[in-house]
């Protein structure tokens, strides 16, 4: 199976005042189409930075990032914008819906940004809103929806562009556990339907839903068989094949 994207030798550092913070250290990662992968790590481990780089929102310092046949590390601002719109569907911990827009307007935004007509965008949005089960809430504003419903709208927004990659940052982090489970079940279904999902989490229970877990700690990536496993109490419970595990990290 073909890789969806490949990171190789990626380094990223930030300047915090005088200090230089080396956030990502020689990160290598391969993700194949149809995978459901969780990057698991505590806060400050560099997982958000990694997500920003995978999500084409931040540049890397050294290394390479190949997404399908595009060399992302060589892309300029406009090309990154295009990639975010066409290839990636973002799902955030705090939903990040635009508060003054209705659920429908939020969902069709990525399509409108492509220049699609409202009629066609609405048709396509309806499908993805149906998929998350919120057809009767389309005209509601985010503040009239529960947290779980807001996250479903956000998922519908991510799905509406039929992206190559669903990128979810702690998607259940702001939800109670019952609602979180529903959302995770939805992710499972989406993956079964063929969507590639990369999830970022600090919660091993959330990660347990996915096919593959990559640990990130202090900017280093390791698969679950490595020594850095302090954040995965249920380590070893993943049923996935050994070949998949070892392929992920170079």
């Amino acid at each position: 199976m073909q890789n969806l994207f490949t990171l190789q030798g990626v380094n990223k550092s930030y300047h915090m005042g005088q200090e230089q913070l080396h956030v990502l250290k020689d990160v290598c990662l391969e993700v194949r189409r149809g995978e459901y992968l969780t990057i698991l790590g505590p806060s400050g481990s560099g997982k958000s930075t990694l997500m920003n780089i995978i999500g084409c929102m931040d540049n890397l310092d050294t290394g390479s990032y190949q997404f399908e046949d595009i060399a992302v590390h060589k892309c300029n601002d406009n090309e990154l914008t295009w990639l975010r719109n066409k290839k990636i569907g973002f799902i955030f911990q705090k939903y990040h819906l635009i508060p003054q827009y209705s659920a429908l307007q939020n969902v069709i935004m990525p399509l409108l940004l492509r220049g699609m007509s409202r009629a066609q965008a609405t048709r396509e949005a309806q499908q993805s809103i149906d998929l998350v089960g919120l057809s009767d809430r389309m005209s509601h504003k985010p503040n009239e929806l529960s947290g779980g419903q807001q996250q479903r709208v956000a998922i519908a927004r991510a799905l509406v562009t039929q992206p190559a990659l669903l990128l979810a940052d702690e998607p259940t982090g702001a939800l109670d556990s019952a609602t979180g489970k529903e959302i995770l079940a939805l992710f499972r279904r989406l993956n079964d339907a063929g969507n590639t999902i990369v999830m970022i989490s600090h919660d091993a229970n959330v990660a347990a839903q996915s096919h593959r877990i990559i640990h990130i700690n202090d900017g280093w990536l390791s698969d679950e068989n490595s020594d850095i496993q302090t954040y995965n109490p249920r380590h070893g419970s993943q049923p996935d094949t050994a070949s998949q595990k070892t392929m992920g990290i170079c």
Partner: protein
């Protein structure tokens, strides 16, 4: 994103913040009202000048008593030298540059027409007044040389008086005008000249033969004046010079009368109106700048407030151009709204101006200019905040709290 969808998104945002939009556009509203008013006042001033001088030829010359001289010198006004028939003859004889010149007497009195009494302007004239003052007859006959010679009790009246007292010009002909218990017969009615003239309008003046006025109505306090017409506009300066030199030797003190031409009067009046206009326009421009700074401030706050929204839009694939367009168009919409409200408000306020003595003539051009200036201000001052918004980095904007 296409324009219609961008506008729709802006509409959603504006509707969410109606009160803020109102406050922001206040500066522009005031600016637009100011522009419309200023242009109306400027035009009003010009119209007034045009009305005052009417179709008066620039070749018209005036001989007026210099009242300031009389009062400053403590001269008794009854002792002021009067322009007599002899002086008039002298001027005419010595002045090859004049086509015609005549004495004229501006006065006023209680006038009764059709049973109604009012104080009305009365002007004593010679037959030439029709040509010199450009006052063609609409109906009837003019004052003739015979009327002058016989001191006839005939009157030519302005159009406004005719319609006011007799309904129509036709009805006025042959009717009586009573002044100081003397009855005069209306022989003619003048063409309507328009009512923009301040003070003395031919439309509400009764014209009588000069000799009649001199004999029956003139007091020692009334001073005759003179109006003439130069042969050509090129001779105006020479005509004025020559009249002054004649006055200098026929009168003890020639400077008790000033000789002026209409051209320089019109020029002076136009110039002062122009200066006034410039002053008013600069006030309007200042108002717009203040309004524009208001818009800019609110937009900066708005960009700050909506940093997260900008981050979300960028994550979803909004280009710099989209963000720029959204904020710039938002500014333009606010200012267009302000301009529109301002223009409407000015239409409502305009009738109130009649309670002041400032002449106004509202124009379409003024309203369009106000709208244009509003949008221009919105674009100018919206540009920088929009640019700032478009330059935000998506991750910084998203993590902004």
């Amino acid at each position: 994103m296409n324009l219609i969808e961008t506008l729709r998104v802006i509409w959603i945002n504006l509707m969410q913040n109606k009160f803020k939009v109102m406050l922001t556009s206040l500066g522009i509203i005031v600016g637009a009202v100011t522009i419309v008013m200023v242009i109306a006042i400027g035009k009003g001033g010009e119209d007034e000048i045009a009305g005052q001088f009417g179709d008066l030829s620039a070749a018209t010359v005036y001989v007026n008593p210099d009242y300031s001289k009389a009062f400053l010198g403590n001269t008794d006004i009854t002792q002021f030298p009067k322009l007599t028939e002899e002086i008039e003859g002298q001027i005419r004889e010595e002045n090859p540059f004049l086509k015609s010149i005549m004495r004229v007497m501006y006065t006023g009195d209680e006038v009764t027409m059709n049973g109604e009494s009012n104080f009305v302007n009365i002007t004593g004239v010679f037959p030439e007044y029709e040509e010199i003052s450009n006052l063609p007859l609409a109906l009837g006959d003019n004052i003739t040389q015979d009327d002058i010679d016989n001191k006839s009790r005939v009157a030519v009246i302005g159009d406004k008086l005719a319609t006011q007292y007799f309904g129509t010009a036709e009805n006025a002909i042959g009717k009586a005008v009573k002044i100081r218990n003397q009855t005069y017969t209306i022989v003619g009615v003048l063409e309507r000249k328009g009512d923009a003239i301040q003070g003395m309008s031919a439309d509400d003046t009764v014209f009588l033969p000069y000799s009649t006025v001199e004999e029956r109505l003139m007091s020692d306090f009334d001073l005759p004046q003179m109006v003439g017409l130069a042969k050509d506009i090129a001779y105006v300066d020479k005509a004025v010079e020559r009249i002054q030199s004649t006055l200098n030797y026929v009168l003890d003190d020639g400077s008790t009368y000033t000789v002026e031409d209409a051209g320089s009067r019109i020029e002076a009046a136009t110039e002062s109106a122009h200066t006034m206009n410039m002053l008013l326009v600069s006030v309007a421009v200042i108002v717009f700048i203040v309004g524009g700074i208001g818009i800019m401030n609110v937009l900066f706050v708005s960009v700050k407030e909506r940093t997260k929204e900008i981050g979300i839009l960028k994550a979803l694939g909004s280009s710099k151009r989209d963000i720029m367009a959204q904020f710039l168009l938002e500014s333009i919409m606010i200012s267009l709204f302000g301009g529109g409200v301002g223009v409407l408000l000015s239409i409502l306020l305009m009738p109130l101006m009649q309670y002041t003595d400032i002449p106004v003539s509202p124009t379409m051009g003024g309203k369009l200019l106000a709208l244009f200036f509003s949008v221009f201000t919105g674009t100018l001052f919206g540009f920088y905040p929009a640019y700032k918004a478009s330059r935000l980095k998506p991750i910084d904007a998203l993590s902004y709290e």
